[in-house]
């Protein structure tokens, strides 16, 4: 392996160390499905490693690619996340959060997760999801209203 490749690998690996957990949690919140989150994240990082040219901002790149892969997978499965009947242990607060999120549309969910959890701006989210800032703002607005209703109902 030449130096350039080693350097790139270190770069991607440190991006993984720094962003891996947060990205995985965001993908889990978005998809409601551990397997989809695992696959999307692993594939996004693997693609980053394979990329021939250096990626200018590996963190933004893997976030974007992972969300796109997850979105395609959700479409392929033809359903939104259904976090009930998980075959694995998950605590009550998480499962209620996931079931609330599952009631949003996928686009509302990605907007909510990327904005409120990951801290991206609407403009950045638009570029990540191939949408416009105005559209993202609408999804964000509707998703936020719906999620607040659900959370308030749940608290009572």
């Amino acid at each position: 392996m030449d130096d350039l490749r080693v350097e790139k690998r270190d770069d991607i690996e440190s991006t993984y160390r720094e962003h891996g957990k947060r990205l995985w949690w965001a993908l889990l919140a978005y998809t409601g499905d551990r397997e989809v989150a695992n696959d999307a994240m692993a594939e996004a990082f693997a693609q980053a490693l394979r990329a021939e040219r250096g990626i200018r901002s590996p963190a933004d790149w893997v976030w974007r690619v992972a969300f796109r892969i997850a979105s395609a997978e959700l479409k392929r499965r033809g359903r939104i996340a259904a976090p009930v009947d998980r075959p694995y242990e998950i605590d009550d607060r998480v499962s209620s959060l996931l079931s609330h999120l599952a009631k949003l549309s996928p686009r509302q969910r990605s907007a909510i997760v990327l904005y409120y959890y990951a801290g991206y701006t609407t403009k950045e989210i638009a570029s990540m999801t191939g949408s416009s800032g105005a559209t993202v703002a609408v999804h964000l607005h509707r998703g936020r209203r719906r999620l607040r209703e659900l959370l308030e109902d749940g608290d009572e």
Binding site: W24, M41, F45, L49, R50, A51, E52, R53, Y116
Partner: protein, 237 residues
């Protein structure tokens, strides 16, 4: 921190997996595992350049060494007439392409394969294009250079590129293929109205070409092509 943010942080109660070993093992798989088509067509183009003069009189250039002969016994291989320039220089109008209709019975198309397919938008027409992106791939074109999943695709089969157009990064949908004609300046393909094509509309893989065989006896068509559909690559859009 808003209550929404606080609620979303609950997700962090789920222990995250360590995916790095898996990532490294995926990365180790080559992006382009020298798919049959790519090797063969690459070899084919080299042969065209070097040996065309010798082989054209024979009327046949085999792109695949073995297994797909054009003998009469090989009834899964059909001949189709190429009627446009969109796959030039690999295939030109007037050539006859040998199409293996069994190629994808137990396998999926690979990147680099030349395929023949239908598209519901253009009923009754068969297309010939090259597979560039598979489901889940991200394809983009930067000033004429094709990138799949961020990696530049080596395309020896494309003529010295005159086409410097770009195409935005596009995720190939499940069950779809991103296809391009080798003749980038004169091909309606996944960049244009053809869009991503459905995998289940693929008829077969081009495994050989008989140069000029379709025009040699242009009217009437050569006997070999009588039972075969003609192929258009629908130049332009």
């Amino acid at each position: 921190m808003s209550s929404l943010q606080r609620h979303l942080r609950d997700i962090e109660r789920v222990p995250p997996p360590n995916l790095w070993p898996e990532i490294e093992s995926i990365e180790a798989r080559p992006l382009l595992p020298e798919p049959r088509g790519r090797q063969l067509i690459t070899a084919g183009v080299a042969l065209v350049v070097v040996l065309a003069g010798v082989l054209i009189p024979l009327g046949l250039l085999r792109l695949q060494g073995s297994g797909h002969g054009l003998s009469s016994g090989d009834d899964n291989v059909i001949l189709i007439a190429v009627v446009s320039q969109s796959m030039a220089p690999t295939l030109s109008a007037g050539d006859a392409a040998e199409v293996d209709t069994d190629a994808y019975r137990n396998a999926s198309p690979s990147r680099g394969d030349i395929i023949v397919f239908h598209d519901p938008k253009y009923p009754g027409i068969e297309f010939i294009k090259r597979v560039i992106g598979l489901p889940g791939d991200t394809v983009d074109i930067r000033e004429g250079s094709v990138f799949v999943n961020g990696q530049r695709v080596d395309e020896p089969y494309v003529s010295p590129v005159l086409d410097r157009h770009s195409f935005p990064a596009t995720l190939v949908d499940p069950g779809r293929l991103f296809v391009l004609g080798d003749n980038r300046t004169d091909s309606n393909d996944s960049r244009f109205t053809l869009g991503q094509i459905a995998e289940d509309q693929v008829i077969g893989q081009v495994v050989g070409v008989r140069f000029g065989a379709a025009s040699a006896a242009s009217s009437p068509p050569p006997p070999a092509a009588v039972n075969s559909p003609s192929v258009t690559n629908s130049s332009g859009a």
